[in-house]
C-alpha cells in the first residue's frame, strides 16, 4: 500500500511539473501587447517594468536575427533602446530557478501592484476556504437527507417532487440562479446585503453576507448528492442481503439503518471530496457577481489583466489540489470499501 501511495504521489508531482511547464511555455509564446494609446511615456514605463520582471530585454544596439519589439529614444538622450522579447526557454529556466531556490513566484503587476504573488494568494485563500467549508457543512447533510427521503419513498409523490426539483436546479446555469437570488433577495426584498461585507461593516452584515454565497455554492452540491444517494440507495434496496435482513425479522427501519445506509454511503465520501475541490475552483462567477475577494476570481482577473505571475501561482495551486485530491480519492475508495483496491494486481 505504501509503495502505491508513493508511486501515485510521484506521478502527481511529475504531472504537475509537465502541466505547469506546458502552460508557461504556451502563454509565453503569446505576443506581448503594448498598451493602447499613443502615449510614449506610458509604453516606456511598461517596457521598463517588463524588463525588470525579466520578460523583455533591452539593448542599445539592434541585434540581428531577432524580431524587434519596440524601440524608443528617451527624450534628451542620444542612444536608442531596443527591446526584444526574452527567449522563452531563458524565461522558463529563470522562473524555475526562482521557485526552486527562493520560492519566489514573482511579483504582480496589475492585480495588486508590487506585491508578491504568494502574498496575494495567501491573502485571498482564507475567504474561499471558509466559504467552501461552510457550504460543505451545510450541503452534505441536507443532500444526503433529501436523497434518503427520495429513495425510501420511491415513485411516490414525494420522490417525484424531490426528483423534479433536483433536476431543475441542476440544469439551470449557476449564474442565472445567482443573479436571480441576488435580485430577489437583495434588491427587491432587501433582506440580505447585495455585496460581500467589507471589513468596516458591522458584524451582523458580515454574517448575513455569507448567506447568499453559501446558498449558491451548496445548491448544486445538494442536488448532486441527492441524485447520487437516491440512485445508490435504490440499488441497495433491491439487493439480496437486505431481503435477507427483512426475512430474518428486522423491521424496515432496522434493516435500512444497519445495512442499507452503510452500504449506500460508501461512494459518498469520495464524492464529497471531489465536490470540495470542485467548489474551490468553480465559484468564479459567484465571486464576480458578489464581489468576494477569493482565489477563483483571481484566476480570471489575472487572465484578463495578463498578469502571468499570479496566474501561474493560481494554476499551480489548483492543479496541485486536484491532483492530490485525485490520489486521496483513489486511496479513500480502498479504505472504505475493502473489496476495492485500486491499482491492485489480479
Amino acid at each position: 500500500m505504501g509503495k502505491y501511495i508513493l508511486k501515485r504521489l510521484a506521478l502527481a508531482v511529475v504531472t504537475l511539473f509537465i502541466i505547469l511547464s506546458l502552460t508557461f511555455i504556451l502563454i509565453k509564446l503569446l505576443r506581448i501587447e503594448l498598451p493602447l494609446g499613443g502615449d510614449q511615456k506610458a509604453v516606456f514605463s511598461y517596457m521598463e517594468n517588463q524588463v525588470h520582471l525579466g520578460y523583455v530585454e533591452s539593448f542599445t544596439s539592434p541585434i540581428e536575427g531577432r524580431d524587434l519589439l519596440w524601440q524608443y529614444t528617451p527624450t534628451g538622450q542620444k542612444n536608442t533602446l531596443y527591446y526584444y522579447v526574452t527567449p522563452v526557454m531563458k524565461q522558463y529556466i529563470r522562473w524555475l530557478g526562482n521557485i526552486v531556490t527562493r520560492w519566489d513566484w514573482g511579483t504582480s503587476l496589475y492585480v495588486a501592484p508590487n506585491r508578491t504573488a504568494i502574498e496575494i494568494i495567501m491573502g485571498r485563500l482564507p475567504v474561499s476556504m471558509s466559504l467552501n467549508i461552510i457550504s460543505v457543512i451545510f450541503s452534505v447533510p441536507l443532500g444526503i437527507f433529501l436523497g434518503i427521503v427520495a429513495a425510501l419513498n420511491k415513485n411516490k409523490p414525494v420522490d417525484h417532487f424531490i426528483s423534479t426539483f433536483v433536476m431543475i436546479f441542476i440544469s439551470i446555469p449557476s449564474f442565472i440562479l445567482i443573479t436571480f437570488s441576488v435580485w430577489i433577495l437583495a434588491y427587491q426584498l432587501n433582506w440580505l446585503p447585495s455585496q460581500w461585507a467589507k471589513p468596516t461593516d458591522p458584524d451582523a452584515t458580515k454574517v448575513l453576507s455569507y448567506i447568499i454565497p453559501v446558498f449558491a455554492l451548496s445548491f448544486g452540491s445538494v442536488c448532486g448528492y441527492c441524485r447520487f444517494v437516491r440512485a445508490e440507495l435504490c440499488e441497495v434496496m433491491e439487493s439480496e442481503y437486505l431481503l435477507l435482513a427483512r426475512t430474518k425479522g428486522l423491521t424496515k427501519r432496522q434493516a435500512i439503518i444497519r445495512h442499507a445506509l452503510r452500504n449506500a454511503m460508501v461512494p459518498i465520501v469520495p464524492a464529497i471530496l471531489a465536490e470540495f475541490i470542485g467548489i474551490l475552483g468553480g465559484s468564479t462567477i459567484l465571486e464576480r457577481l458578489y464581489g468576494i475577494p477569493g482565489i477563483g476570481g483571481l484566476f480570471y482577473d489575472s487572465l484578463n489583466k495578463k498578469d502571468w505571475s499570479v496566474l501561474f501561482v493560481d494554476m499551480a495551486l489548483f492543479t496541485t489540489i486536484s491532483l492530490v485530491s485525485g490520489v486521496f480519492l483513489d486511496l479513500s475508495y480502498g479504505l472504505i470499501d475493502p473489496r476495492i483496491r485500486m491499482g491492485a494486481k489480479k
Binding site: I19, M167, I172, F175, I176, T179, Y187, F318
Partner: protein
C-alpha cells in the same frame, strides 16, 4: 445416487387417472408438435430502445421540447428582424402583446416623476430621464393620462429642488459680532440693486412675512433692522456706503412667532433723507440672535409694491425683487451677466419644508418611438419622393405654407406637417412632424413580444438565433469529439498492454491541463469567435468519450462470444465493429449526447465572464449585456435565461431516458 430403477408405466386409457388425487388435463396429447412460427415479431435493437424510451414519459417530454426548440431556432432565420444589425432608434423597448391600456405586457413603462399641481401633469423635463427616443425629455403625448397616480406622501427637502413648492427660505445666523461684553450672532439678507424712481412713485410699500415653527429651532433669529441701503447715483457704482435709510427697527412679532409687517411710507422716508431723484438701492434685513449659532429664521415672502398709477417699468423692477416662492429664490442663479443674485445671504441657500409630490404614470414607449415625432428633419429629395407617391403636394419648395396632404385622414404620408425650413448651402432641410413608422415604410408600428435589448434587436429572434448558434456548435463539436474519442478509446481498449499505457498517460496529461487555460490560450491566439471555441472544446473534449469507450471495450473484450469469434478466425476489425462496439455504443452515445448541454453551458459561462465570445450573439454575451437592466427590464434577462434552462433541463431528461433506453441489460426488465 439411487440404484432403483423407476419403472415407467405407459398409460393406456384415461380411466386410470380418475383415481388420482390431482386433476390432470391432457395437453396436446394427440398433436404432432412442430416448430411454430413466432407469434411476436423479432425486434431490432433500435425498436427495443425506442419502446423503452417511450415508456419514460419525462424523456419523451424532454425530446419534444428539444424538437420544438430546434425548429424554433432555425425558424429564427425567417424572422423579419435582423440580429446582426444594430437599431439605435428602438433600444430597450418593453414587451408588447396588446395595445397600451393598463400596464401589463402592453409596451408601457412606469415612470415616477414630480407632479406639478398647476398643470395637473407630471413634470417631464428631467435630467435623469430614460433616454428612449433620443430626446432628453419625455413626450407629453405618450403619457397615458388616466394612469396618473399621485403619491399622497409629500417629500420634504431642506435644499432647493426643481419643481418644489411651498416652504420657507431659511436663513442662518453665522457671523459673530462682539459688542463689548456680549456677543451675538448675526446675518444679513440683502436684495439686488433696485432702481428707485421717487420722482414718479409715491406709494411704495414693503411687506414681509417671516414664518416660524414651534419647537423647531434652538433659538430664533429676530429681525432687528430693515435698511434701504447702498444708495448710488448710477448704474456702475460699486460702493454701498452712502447713508442708508432705516426703514424699520427692533421688529418684534406680536405673538412671538410670525412677523408680518408693512413699511408704508418708504417714499416719505426717502424724501426726508433728501433724495428726490432716481437712484439705486438695496433692501437689507438684519437679524440677530443672542445664544447659539444654530438659530434660524424662515422667510415666507417679500413684496415690494407701488401704486397702480406708477409706471410699468417700476412695477416690473419691484416685482423682480419680490418673491413668494422660496424654492424659486433658492434655486435662482440669475440670468444677468454680472452674476448678482437677487437676494444674497451668507452660507448656503437653504429652504425649509419645500415639498414635492411624486406621481407615477404609464408611458407608451412604442408611441414615443414609432409615433409622431416633432422636430424631425427631412431633406428635399425625400419630400419629392412623397410627392411622387401622391401622398402630399407642395407647389413651392421654398414656401412651407404650400405643403398640403392629399388626404388628411389617411396615415399614408409620413410627413404630417412642416414647421420650418432651413437652407444650408443649397441643401433644403424641412423640420416638421413625422410619423415615424411610416417614415420607415412600415404599415403599422411593430410590436416586439419580449421587447428589444440595448442594441435594438428583437429579444425573441436574438434568443432563438443564439440558440441556433449554440446548438450547431455543440452538436458539431460533440460529433467530432465522438469520432476522435471512439477511435482513440477503441485502439487503447482493444490492444491493451503498452499501447494502452502510453495512450493513458497522454490522456492523463492532457486532461490535467485546466480546461479554462486551454480555452483562454486558444481565444487569445486565434481570436474570439465560434470557430475558436469549437476548436478549443474539441482539443480536450474527446478525452471523456475515449475513456468511456475504453471502459466499454474492457468490459466486452473478455466475453465468450468474442473468444468464440476469434477462434473462428475473425479479424480485429470484425471483432471491433461487429461484436464489441455495438454492445458498448449505448453508454458512449449517451455520454456524447450529454456533452451537448455542458458545451452550451460552459460557452455561456465563459462569455458571461467576458472571457469568451464578444460581440457575437451568444447566450452568455446577451445575458451579461442585459444584466445591468435587470431591475428596469427584467424580461430581457428572464427570457434568455428561461430558454437556456429549458434547453438544459430537456437535454438532461432526454439523456436520462436515452441512457435507460440504450442499455440492453434492461431488456424485459419491466413489463
Amino acid at each position: 445416487m439411487e440404484n432403483e430403477e423407476k419403472k415407467i408405466v405407459p398409460v393406456e386409457n384415461e380411466e386410470q387417472f380418475d383415481a388420482c388425487d390431482f386433476e390432470f388435463v391432457h395437453h396436446e396429447k394427440n398433436d404432432k408438435i412442430h416448430d411454430e412460427e413466432f407469434k411476436t415479431k423479432p425486434t431490432t435493437f433500435a425498436k427495443d430502445a425506442l419502446k423503452r424510451f417511450a415508456k419514460n414519459k419525462a424523456s419523451v417530454v424532454g425530446a419534444v421540447i428539444i424538437g420544438i426548440l430546434l425548429i424554433g431556432s432555425f425558424a429564427s432565420m425567417l424572422s423579419p428582424y435582423d440580429v446582426e444589425a444594430v437599431y439605435m432608434d428602438r433600444v430597450r423597448l418593453p414587451p408588447k402583446v396588446r395595445e397600451a391600456s393598463n400596464g401589463f405586457w402592453d409596451g408601457t413603462v412606469k415612470y415616477t416623476r414630480v407632479y406639478d399641481p398647476d398643470t395637473q401633469f407630471p413634470v417631464l423635463e428631467d435630467e435623469n430621464s430614460d433616454d428612449i427616443s433620443g430626446d432628453n425629455a419625455l413626450n407629453a403625448d405618450c403619457v397615458l393620462a388616466d394612469s396618473i397616480w399621485l403619491d399622497p406622501e409629500l417629500h420634504y427637502y431642506s435644499e432647493a429642488v426643481p419643481h418644489g413648492k411651498g416652504g420657507y427660505y431659511r436663513l442662518r445666523a453665522d457671523k459673530t459680532i462682539e459688542d463689548g461684553a456680549t456677543s451675538y450672532f448675526f446675518n444679513n439678507f440683502t436684495s439686488k440693486k433696485v432702481k428707485f424712481d421717487i420722482t414718479q412713485a409715491d406709494d411704495l410699500k414693503l411687506s414681509v412675512t417671516f414664518g416660524g415653527e414651534d419647537g423647531l429651532f434652538e433659538d430664533k433669529l429676530v429681525p432687528v433692522n430693515i435698511w434701504l441701503c447702498g444708495l448710488v447715483d448710477n448704474d456702475y457704482g460699486a460702493n454701498d456706503q452712502i447713508t442708508p435709510i432705516l426703514l424699520g427697527e427692533n421688529l418684534i412679532s406680536p405673538d412671538g412667532n410670525d412677523f408680518t409687517f408693512n413699511v408704508d411710507d418708504i417714499a416719505a422716508k426717502m424724501a426726508a433723507a433728501g433724495l428726490n431723484k432716481i437712484f439705486y438701492a438695496r433692501i437689507r434685513f438684519e437679524f440677530q440672535a443672542s445664544s447659539n449659532v444654530s438659530s434660524y429664521i424662515l422667510v415666507k415672502n417679500v413684496k415690494l409694491t407701488c401704486a397702480d398709477t406708477s409706471s410699468d417699468t417700476l412695477k416690473q423692477r419691484l416685482n423682480e425683487v419680490s418673491f413668494d416662492d422660496p424654492n424659486w429664490l433658492a434655486r435662482y442663479t440669475t440670468p444677468d451677466k454680472y452674476t448678482e443674485r437677487y437676494w444674497q445671504s451668507s452660507a448656503q441657500r437653504l429652504v425649509h419644508k419645500v415639498y414635492t409630490q411624486q406621481c407615477t404614470f404609464l408611458y407608451d414607449s412604442y408611441r414615443d418611438v414609432f409615433g409622431v415625432r416633432n422636430a424631425f428633419v427631412i431633406g428635399k429629395s425625400i419630400l419629392q419622393s412623397y410627392i411622387e407617391k401622391g401622398w402630399c403636394t407642395m407647389s413651392d419648395f421654398d414656401d412651407i405654407s404650400t405643403f398640403k396632404l392629399t388626404s388628411p385622414d389617411s396615415l399614408d404620408c409620413p410627413l404630417r406637417s412642416i414647421e420650418s425650413l432651413q437652407i444650408y448651402d443649397g441643401v433644403y432641410q424641412y423640420t416638421g412632424h413625422v410619423l415615424y413608422y411610416r417614415y420607415l415604410d412600415l404599415n403599422g408600428a411593430p410590436s416586439y413580444i419580449f421587447g428589444t435589448d440595448a442594441k435594438g434587436r428583437d429579444m425573441v429572434t436574438l434568443a432563438l438565433s443564439c440558440l441556433k448558434n449554440s446548438l450547431l456548435l455543440a452538436i458539431i463539436t460533440s460529433g467530432i469529439c465522438l469520432a476522435i474519442g471512439l477511435v482513440w478509446g477503441s485502439v487503447s481498449g482493444y490492444f491493451g498492454g503498452n499501447v494502452d499505457l502510453i495512450m493513458e498517460r497522454i490522456t492523463d496529461i492532457l486532461s490535467g491541463v485546466p480546461w479554462i487555460v486551454v480555452m483562454t490560450l486558444a481565444m487569445l491566439s486565434l481570436g474570439r469567435n465560434y470557430l475558436t471555441f469549437g476548436i478549443a472544446v474539441c482539443l480536450t473534449g474527446w478525452i471523456g468519450t475515449s475513456s468511456r469507450t475504453r471502459t466499454q471495450f474492457y468490459r466486452f473484450k473478455g466475453r465468450e462470444y468474442v473468444l468464440a469469434s476469434r477462434t473462428l478466425g475473425a479479424s480485429d476489425g470484425r471483432l471491433i465493429f461487429r461484436h464489441i462496439l455495438p454492445n458498448g455504443l449505448g453508454t458512449i452515445v449517451t455520454g456524447s449526447v450529454l456533452m451537448i448541454p455542458s458545451t452550451i453551458f460552459s460557452e455561456a459561462t465563459l462569455s458571461y465572464l467576458g472571457l469568451g465570445l464578444q460581440g457575437t450573439a451568444s447566450f452568455g454575451v446577451v445575458l451579461s449585456e442585459n444584466q445591468a437592466n435587470l431591475s428596469s427590464r427584467p424580461m430581457l434577462v428572464i427570457f434568455p435565461a428561461i430558454i437556456v434552462s429549458l434547453l438544459m433541463i430537456s437535454f438532461n431528461l432526454f439523456g436520462n431516458g436515452l441512457r435507460d433506453a440504450l442499455n440492453p441489460t434492461l431488456k424485459g426488465g419491466e413489463q
